[in-house]
């Protein structure tokens, strides 16, 4: 896990190929196939990327936590899966935003379409071929009663996709990815 402090009071934690264990029971799984005709990239192993971020803007703050894993397969298609929860899952006591609000694990349905949209938007920027065929599964999340929003989850989903695409030998670029894709 890498802790990041950016300017203007922004804080984040990023996990690359580590499991932050922000798990929750899914009440629904949303699946969407977004491309066909892809080949499996043999060099690709499973990849995992997660980010927790808090951005103060004065009288309020933005907060979100999102993590995903990419599972390469031979299906020839690229699909996204999203584990949706209730709003009332367990409190995430280890959150960097615990001093601001009660942070709960899970991704309520309110944010699900924004996560999907952010991921698709980010995948469109770079070629899906970089991933190859497989499933991108968003399975870790936490949210704030006050600080989470659809726009912010869209941004975080974009960031997670970029973290998954990051060349593992260039981890010094993590802060730049967070700045480029997460900020409001």
């Amino acid at each position: 896990m890498q802790s990041i402090k950016l300017d203007r009071h922004v804080q984040a934690r990023v996990w690359i190929d580590e499991n932050p264990r922000a798990i929750y029971p899914a009440t629904e799984i949303i699946s969407k196939n977004i491309a066909n005709g892809l080949t499996k990239k043999n060099k690709n192993k499973n990849k995992r990327g997660s980010i927790e971020i808090i951005i103060p803007v004065g009288a309020r703050f933005f907060y979100g936590f999102l993590g995903a894993e990419f599972f390469p397969n031979d299906s020839g298609s690229f699909g996204i899966e999203l584990l949706v929860s209730t709003e009332h899952e367990n409190i995430y006591a280890e959150s960097i935003a615990s001093e601001f609000d009660q942070i709960r694990l899970g991704l309520p349905s309110e944010y699900s379409q924004s996560v999907l949209a952010g991921a698709i938007e980010s995948l469109a920027e770079k070629k899906l071929g970089e991933f190859g065929s497989g499933i991108l599964r968003f399975d870790q999340a936490a949210h704030s009663q006050i600080g989470s929003s659809n726009k912010f989850f869209r941004h975080i989903a974009r960031t997670v996709v970029q973290l998954l695409m990051l060349d593992r030998s260039r981890k010094e670029e993590i802060s730049e990815i967070v700045k480029t894709y997460s900020l409001v």
């Binding site: 922004v10 803007v57 004065g58 009288a59 703050f61 009663q145 929003s149 900020l183 409001v184």
Partner: protein
């Protein structure tokens, strides 16, 4: 919902709006803040008193600015400002601002203001 500011009206002062503008520059630009400041400026220009969300935002930002100038961290200043006025965190943005930027505010804000 407006704590100590409930059922009260307040005069807006030009110098204090300047303090808020300077304080907001500490953070990344965010349009709803600009819209809240514009509402304060309009009240000043039209000699109107403020109440409700406008007053909550005004006094919250002034207190937060004062505390951060005295060395408080953002989180300590933000929480202290909310406690001092005993306001709900959801009272700090006017419903018109929430409606203007619906993607920036989740359903809890809309429930609070009855604008779902």
């Amino acid at each position: 919902m407006f704590g100590k500011l409930e059922n009260q009206e307040f005069i807006v002062e030009k110098e204090r709006i300047e303090v808020i503008k300077k304080h907001i520059e500490e953070f990344y630009p965010w349009q709803p803040n600009d819209m809240m400041i514009k509402r304060l400026q309009q009240a000043l220009d039209n000699n109107q008193k403020i109440s409700g969300a406008d007053a909550c935002f005004y006094f919250h930002e002034l207190k937060e600015a004062e505390l951060m100038a005295n060395g408080y961290t953002y989180v300590a200043a933000h929480n202290q400002a909310i406690q001092d006025y005993e306001v709900s965190p959801f009272s700090l943005y006017h419903p018109d601002v929430i409606l203007a930027f619906p993607d920036d505010f989740n359903s809890n804000w809309k429930k609070f203001w009855g604008i779902e």
